[in-house]
Every structure is written in C-alpha cells, then in structure tokens.
C-alpha cells in the first residue's frame, strides 16, 4: 500500500496477544484504510499465542503458535517492525522513539506493552541456568538448558509457575515448586482448595514447598546454577531455576512520559481505555483500568482492544471491567474460581465438599439469606463450573438444595425421564447454562408459545441447539398445566407442525418451498422451516439435494456436504459401511489426510473424521476420496449416519450371525435417507452386544434363530435404551420392519426429534408402534415400503454428483472476486496434528 501523507498515523507499541488482537479488531473496522498503522514489537517475530507456550516446550512447532496468517500485516498495509522496541514517548511532540533511533510521529498511540515476569531481588539471579517464563525465546532457552539437568526449581506456585513446572516435568526434569504464600494458586484458591490442588500436583511427582521465601540462587564456581537457598528452610540443589512468581506491567514508557499510573503500577485508563493523554490508549496487562490492578488474563485485554478499535473508528464502546472467573486445566487438573469464591461479601455462607482421597474440593458461596449463589471454587472436578457461573452471572435465584450442584451424583437418572420430571435445578441448556427453573419461569412470565420464544427470553438453545426439543416439551407442559392451547407450529412462518407439513407435501405433491410457503405459510422462511422442508422434499423426492431452489434451503452442512466446525472450516467423513475397510482404502484415507494436513480422528461410528478443510479444498479432497472408491458418509446431514457392527460369526468365536454382512446391507440400503434428526444403527452378532445396538435408533441383535429388532435407543445428552420391537426375524422380515419403522418415524416426528423422544411421546407408545409396523393397523405399510423403495432406487452419492457438475462446483469458490484461499485462521500443533488456535483464549 502506498504511504499516504494525509492519513493519520496510528502507532501500536507492543505486538503480543492483545496488541495483535487490536490489529485484527482495527482491520475489521477499516482502520487500516483510514490510518497508517505502525506496529513496534520488541520480540523477533510475529505475534504468537503466549497462553499455549507450554506446547512449544513440549516440542510443538513454534510456528503453530503464530496468531493470524503470515501475510496479515502485508495484506492490510500494516507497517510491522519486529525487533524494534518503543523506547521513549514524547506526548507533547506526539512522537515515539523506537530502538534503532527511528522517531515516529503519531495521531493516536496504543500502548500494548504487556508485562514482564517479576524476579525477586535476591543474589544469584544472573547465573547461567536461571530463567523466566514468558516468551518463545525463554522457552527455547529453557528447553536447551533443561536437557542436561536432573533437578529443577520453579519459583512461584501460581498459574504460570505450575505451567512452567509441568513443562520442565515434560522435559524429564525432577521439579520442586516453591511458593511464598501458604498454598498453591493463592490468588484463586482458599486453604482447602490449595490443599486439594497440592495433593493432585504431588501425585504427579512434583514436589511442593509453600510458605518459603528464596534468599539466594546458589552457583557453582564457573557461574552455573547449583540450587536455591531459603531464609528459614533447607536449600534445594538444582541445575535449573525458573522464576514465575507474578508479573509487573511494562509501564516504563508511560512513567517516563509523565502519564498517570495506577496505584499498583500500569498506566491508568478510564472506561474508554484512554490514558491521562487523550491521544494515548492502553490495553492488556499494561492497562490499569480505573487505576486498579491490571488484569492478568487475556480475554479482558481482548475486549479492551476491541473498545479502542471501536473508539478510533468513531464508535462509543466502553469497557466497564471484566469478570475474572476462570477455569483452567493445570497439569491435567481442573481448577476454577467463580465470582466471590473467597466469600468476602458481608454475611456470605459457604457450603463445601472435599474428597481428600481423590483431591477433589468444591465450594459454593451463598448470600446471607441463602437465596443467591455468589461464587464458588472447584478443584479436581470443574464439572459444575458452567452451572455455578450461570447462577452468579445471571443473578439467578439459587436452586432448592443448592449443594446438589457440587455433591457427587447419587444414582443414575430414570430411563425415559421426561423433561417435566426433572428438578428445577437441572441444567437444560449446557452451552448457555440455563436451568429448567429459569426456562419454566420465562415460559409462564412471558406466556411463551414455542421454543423460539424461550430462546429469545433465556438464550437457552442458542448454543449447540441440542436442547431445543426439550424446550418445546417444557413449553407444552407449562401450557397444558395452565390450560392453554399447545401450539406445535414449526416456526413463525408455518402454523403447522412438521408432521402436518409432511402430510401436506406428501398429499399435495408440492415440490418447492416457494409454493409451500405461498400456499400454506407466510413470510420468507427462516433457518428452522427451510431445512425442515428441504429434508421432507429429500425424503419424498430423493433428488440431488442442492439443485435449483433447494440449495437455498439447506443448512451450511448440507450446502457444502461437510460438517461445519467452530473455526469455520469443515470436516469430511467418507462412508465406511459397517466399519469394514480394506488396508488399501485405509492407506488412501491416510494419504488424503496427510496431503491436506487434516486433523484425523476415529469416530464412535467406526469411521474416520478428517477436520480442518476449507470450503475451497472440499472438491479436491473429495476427488481424491471418490477416486479411491469412497462415497459421502452423510455425516453432515440429518440423515442415516452409520451402521456400527461387531465382527460377527465370520471371525468371532461367539458370533451366531454375520453381523458385518447385515450391517453393510443395511447401511447401503438406508444411506442418504433424510430424516427429522440423525439416525444411527448397529448390528451385534450375538447377545454379548459388542456393537452397542441397544443405544441406537435401530439396533439389531443376532439370535440363534435370526435377528431381534430394537428401536428408539439413544446415546447423547439423555441416554435411553432401545426397546424390543420384534424377535427372531429372518433377513427379509428384518428389513421390511426397519423400512416401515424408519419411514413412519420420518413421516410423523417433529423437527430435530430423535426416535427415542418420538417414541416416548407417541400416543399408545410401543404397542401402537408394533400395531402400525408389524400388523399394519393404519393400512399404510404399503405406502411406507414404497417410499423406502423409491429412496433406495434413486440414491446417488452426493459428492460424485457434485464433482461431475461444474455448476455445482462453483459454490466452493472462496470469494466472489478472488481465488486466493481464506488463510485468516490460526492453528496450533497438538500431539502432532493441526488444531484451531483458540479464537478467544480464556486465560493467560
């Protein structure tokens, strides 16, 4: 980009995580076009993910920690100057002097200089073998040095210290952690919490000493570390000493320039993150918000970065402080602190649970009247974190007997439990952590009529969406209780339920969404009715699901024939019928994964999931897979997924039927069948049930005389055992029964209703189902079989059909006006494979 003398100059001092996040936020708001942006960074390279430094120590490629694409700065015309530290600031002249002597004039300056490790003023810290734990260079140096050490000491028992200890341990060093306070993680944990954590850490072979102050680092005659001495305790011999005892803000630039500082250091900023000089802003670990202690976490820094970017773009965003509730995993141990975990509120009461044997400690802090949860602490098992956090953040009334939130569960849930039977404290939405009580209150208070209303009021169901059917049932329960009409409308555009609409489509022969909504609905449709209707059209017409209008109805998974992941890339799952795969196919699969650098994982459905494919890569990946004989696995659709099987009587000493052969036959028959929700099947070759068929929508178990057919089983959030529909069927009778069962479910179930829920709600229950499917009590079996026969006859692999058609391939182009791939995502290497870098890491 050509430097434009007229554009104002924005200087960013510091290129750490928060500094980099600021650049991303700035680009998002177009500041790189309105300003000339200059970035000064003390370290050698580009910004990286400091939160995951430990992975670099464990041998991961440091490049994998890089934040953003390598060409980020160049593409956006940002003048990044690595290895150039901001050394002096002159607010009057509005200049920054960089190391090397460049004087840069600015119109706006953002200080993101971060913090430095605190090293206590004791003798010997300059010996060879003494390190701090902050940068990639530190990590490289520690790695090189530690290889020759048997014993090491980490000074500091907080988050950073324990991370450093874990890293040294991973390098084969025998580690002692020493902490000045009387317990580990004194900022986050109370006495019993620290004790539980200590027990877990010691259980990993790490020695812990608390309440001791280092008095000197001891050295050998040739200037190398020999150990650590204490004021009132026996010393420790060690070949490496790492200081990780807290951080101090890098406020020297602001201090020398006369900007106002916070009480405990850092540059004082107001709610707009402006310093005492309105042209200078401070964010991240150097910013003392409202003059207080800087945040040592990355997420408040990210929010601060966004606020400053917004302000510079003319916005009015403010930062009013951040919740410091955190959940960490340290050396594999869960540690979490929520809200007022130390019970500092007047009159606060505590309930705690401790299991010294397993090193679990959980505590709830309640208000004096017991009506509100104020905070909590969790060590060794942070399973309750989301629940406690949601009570605290939403200021929800505490549930009855709140101790149940932290006590170990006594006994399992009843099979087939209806949501109405759950206690008010039960979490309904685990993503947004909304309890049943809150949902029911909202339904009554707002006179809500459907799940969409509950979503809008409580945000329940707006995460993964798996609880939406439960929300619907709760709405219906509450309305029934209040004597109100139960509305089963699909969404605001259709007053009919899914089953009613299915009948309309089937009977009228309407085959487009436009005609259906025109004649039977209102408006333009939405993400609920469009995919639901597309699914019905696919079940009834079995054409290519993306032709013509249908391509606009499909959810992104069906649109790109792959599974969307959290970072916006997709995963690819080829079909492996029955889980049987030839060595050549397995090698081909591995080669594709290797060549496209796809994260590879074996699924529970006996196939292989390949993650991290960009939209524009999908056709090339599938060209290779189709070439190797694979076809679409429909993992992306509300459709038949897999038929899992055990090895059966062909190899197994106990098998009584050919379960693999039957599984393959079923999978090839039902592959691609679109349904209200995903469908999973399994076939076990004997009563030992190694294929776990009773946990599936359709489960088949071999007997000496044929096959037993189970239906309505479910894993997932609310596991349910399948029920026996028919016994001792021969092959043909089995397939006829499954044909009818599946099609009856497809016709009559609600949207996103698994067979288990459908069967629980089905009027007349199992007896009714048996009558319909086995005795044809409704006289519809011929229809059901004909529908299935049409599906089987017209099946085509959606990927083969896509690859054969240039028009269909066009949608995989990354941009309308460019063919350059979208490389805006960051990745890290974990256990030798690529994973998305956290989009907003939770801690630092």
């Amino acid at each position: 980009m050509i430097p434009d003398p007229d554009r104002p100059v924005l200087v960013v001092a510091g290129n750490g995580m928060v500094g980099h996040h600021f650049l991303e936020a700035a680009v998002e708001r177009g500041l790189h076009r309105s300003h000339r942006i200059v970035v000064l960074g003390e370290e050698r390279g580009a910004a990286y993910d400091r939160v995951h430094l430990t992975t670099a120590l464990e041998g991961a490629d440091p490049d994998a920690l890089r934040l953003g694409a390598p060409e980020f700065h160049q593409v956006h015309g940002i003048d990044l100057r690595p290895g150039r530290r901001a050394e002096a600031l002159d607010p009057a002249a509005r200049t920054v002097t960089a190391s090397g002597g460049d004087v840069i004039g600015y119109d706006a300056l953002v200080l993101a200089t971060g913090s430095a490790p605190f090293v206590p003023p004791v003798p010997g810290t300059d010996l060879a073998g003494v390190f701090v734990y902050r940068t990639l260079d530190d990590v490289e140096a520690i790695r090189a040095w530690a290889s020759q050490c048997e014993r090491g000491v980490v000074v500091g028992g907080g988050l950073l210290g324990l991370e450093a200890a874990g890293a040294l341990r991973a390098l084969g060093v025998q580690v002692t952690v020493v902490e000045l306070a009387d317990r580990l993680m004194a900022v986050q944990l109370d006495g019993p919490g620290g004790k539980a954590l200590r027990r877990r850490i010691e259980g990993l072979g790490i020695e812990v000493r608390t309440g001791v102050a280092a008095s000197a680092v001891l050295g050998t005659h040739d200037g190398r570390v020999a150990g650590l001495a204490f004021e009132e305790d026996e010393g420790i011999s060690a070949g490496i000493v790492v200081f990780a005892a807290g951080i101090r803000p890098r406020d020297e630039l602001a201090r020398a320039a006369g900007l106002t500082l916070g009480d405990r250091g850092g540059v004082a900023v107001d709610d707009t993150l402006a310093t005492s000089d309105p042209r200078v802003w401070a964010i991240g670990e150097v910013a003392a918000h409202r003059g207080g202690r800087p945040y040592g976490l990355v997420s408040p820094g990210y929010r601060q970065a966004e606020v400053v970017a917004d302000r510079l773009a003319g916005g009015t965003a403010t930062f009013e402080g951040a919740d410091t509730s955190t959940k960490l995993k340290l050396l594999g141990v869960d540690v979490a602190c929520v809200g007022d975990g130390f019970a500092t509120t007047d009159g606060a009461e505590e309930i705690s649970y401790a299991d010294p044997v397993t090193g679990v400690y959980k505590k709830l802090v309640l208000s004096a009247d017991g009506r509100r949860i104020l905070g909590g602490m969790l060590v060794g098992d942070a399973g309750a974190y989301d629940s406690v956090l949601s009570y605290v953040r939403n200021d929800l009334p505490a549930p009855d007997r709140p101790e149940r939130l932290i006590l170990p569960a006594a006994g399992g849930g009843a099979v087939g439990l209806r949501p109405g039977d759950l206690p008010d404290s039960a979490t309904i939405c685990s993503c947004l952590n909304v309890a049943k009580g809150a949902v029911c209150e909202a339904i009554v208070a707002g006179d809500l009529a459907d799940a969409a209303g509950v979503k809008a009021c409580t945000r329940a169901g707006t995460g993964c969406g798996s609880c939406v059917p439960v929300l619907t049932e709760l709405v219906n329960d509450e309305r029934r209780k209040a004597g109100k009409e139960v509305v089963t409308r699909l969404c605001e555009h259709f007053g009919q339920s899914r089953a009613q609409l299915f009948e309309i489509v089937r009977v009228t022969g309407i085959r487009t969404f436009a005609e259906l909504i025109d004649r039977f609905g209102t408006g333009a449709g939405c993400e609920v009715c469009k995919p639901a209707v597309a699914s019905m059209l696919a079940s009834l017409a079995s054409g290519y699901i993306l032709d013509g209008e249908q391509s606009t109805l499909q959810d992104t998974n069906d649109h790109f024939l792959a599974n969307l992941q959290r970072d916006g890339t997709y995963s690819v799952v080829p079909r492996v019928p029955g889980g049987e795969i030839t060595p050549a196919q397995l090698i081909a699969l591995g080669e594709v994964a290797r060549d496209f650098d796809l994260y590879t994982k074996i699924t529970g459905g006996q196939r292989v999931d390949l993650f991290g494919a960009r939209v524009d890569q999908l056709p090339a990946i599938w060209a290779r897979l189709v070439g190797a004989g694979f076809e679409s696995g429909h993992a992306y659709g509300k459709a038949v997924r897999t038929v899992k099987s055990c090895v059966g009587d062909t190899w197994c000493r106990y098998g009584v039927q050919d379960s693999v052969g039957m599984a393959i036959r079923l999978e090839l028959r039902y592959r691609g069948l679109r349904s209200p929700h995903k469908l999973k099947l399994a076939v076990s070759g004997c009563a030992r049930e190694c294929a776990e068929a009773q946990g599936k929508d359709v489960g088949v178990i071999a007997t000496e005389r044929g096959w037993n057919l189970y239906v309505g089983g479910n894993g997932g959030m609310r596991p349910q055992h399948a029920v026996l529909l028919a016994e001792d069927l021969d092959d043909e009778a089995l397939i006829t029964a499954i044909d009818r069962f599946l099609m009856y479910y497809v016709r009559t179930a609600d949207r996103l209703e698994r067979t288990a829920t459908w069967l629980t709600k089905l009027e007349g229950g199992l007896n009714h189902l048996k009558a319909v499917v086995l005795e044809d009590s409704l006289g519809i079996c011929a229809d059901l079989e004909a529908d299935m026969a049409r599906h089987v006859d017209t099946y085509q692999c959606e990927w083969q059909a896509t690859l054969a058609d240039p028009v269909r391939l066009a949608r995989f182009r990354p941009f309308l006006n460019s063919d350059e791939p979208d490389l805006s995502r960051g990745y890290v290497r974990v256990r030798g494979q690529r994973q998305p870098a956290a989009l907003e890491p939770a801690r630092q």
Partner: protein
C-alpha cells in the same frame, strides 16, 4: 471517505444465498434476496469469531430480512447488521448498489 468497490455481476449471486467478497483484505458477506434487494454485512460471526455469516440461511423475522449464523444460529438483520437475538451485538453493514452495467458494488 469510502469509494464504491465493484464485486461481480449481479447474476453471479444465487438468490437467497450469501457469498463472500474480499474487499481490501476484509471479508464482506453479500446477500441477494429473491425479492430483489442486495445487502452486505461483515462476514465475521461475532459469537464464534469465524468468517461464516455468508453461509447462513437467509429469511425473515416478522418481515425483517435476516441471516442466521450457521455456527450458533443467532440472527442478524440484513439491513443494519444488528443481532436480533442479542441486542448490543452486531456486525458492520455496508451500502450496496447495482451499477449501470449490472455489477454489484459495495462501499466498505
């Protein structure tokens, strides 16, 4: 002051489906509705951080044209970019015009 950036001919856009343009390094999601309007929003979904809004399903809520993020399904108003499920959250929205030769132009 922004200038109009020409993206593509209107008929390259599938009605009722989004697509992405790269404008000065930023990703802009462009939506052409079957009713004729064309809208442009920032492509980044603020809830997931992923660049995916163009891949959402378009439709309406109470007559307001909107797109639902494909990740966690929050809806965004196509006219303003504001989130219809979470007031206070939003994405940038950009002016769009159809030029005399039938090309779509966006002012990012």
């Amino acid at each position: 002051m922004s200038t109009w950036e020409r993206v593509c001919p209107l008929d390259r856009l599938t009605p009722d489906r989004g697509a992405v343009a790269l404008l000065g390094g930023a990703q802009v999601a462009i939506f052409r509705l079957s009713s004729g309007e064309v809208y442009a929003l920032g492509n980044r979904d603020p809830f997931s951080g992923a660049q995916v809004l163009a891949r959402g399903i378009v439709g309406d809520r109470g007559g307001v044209p909107k797109v639902a993020s494909p990740v966690y399904k929050q809806s965004f108003c196509l006219r303003t970019g504001s989130c219809l499920d979470d007031p206070g959250v939003g994405v940038p929205s950009y002016p769009v015009r159809i030029e005399d030769d039938g090309w779509v132009a966006v002012a990012p």
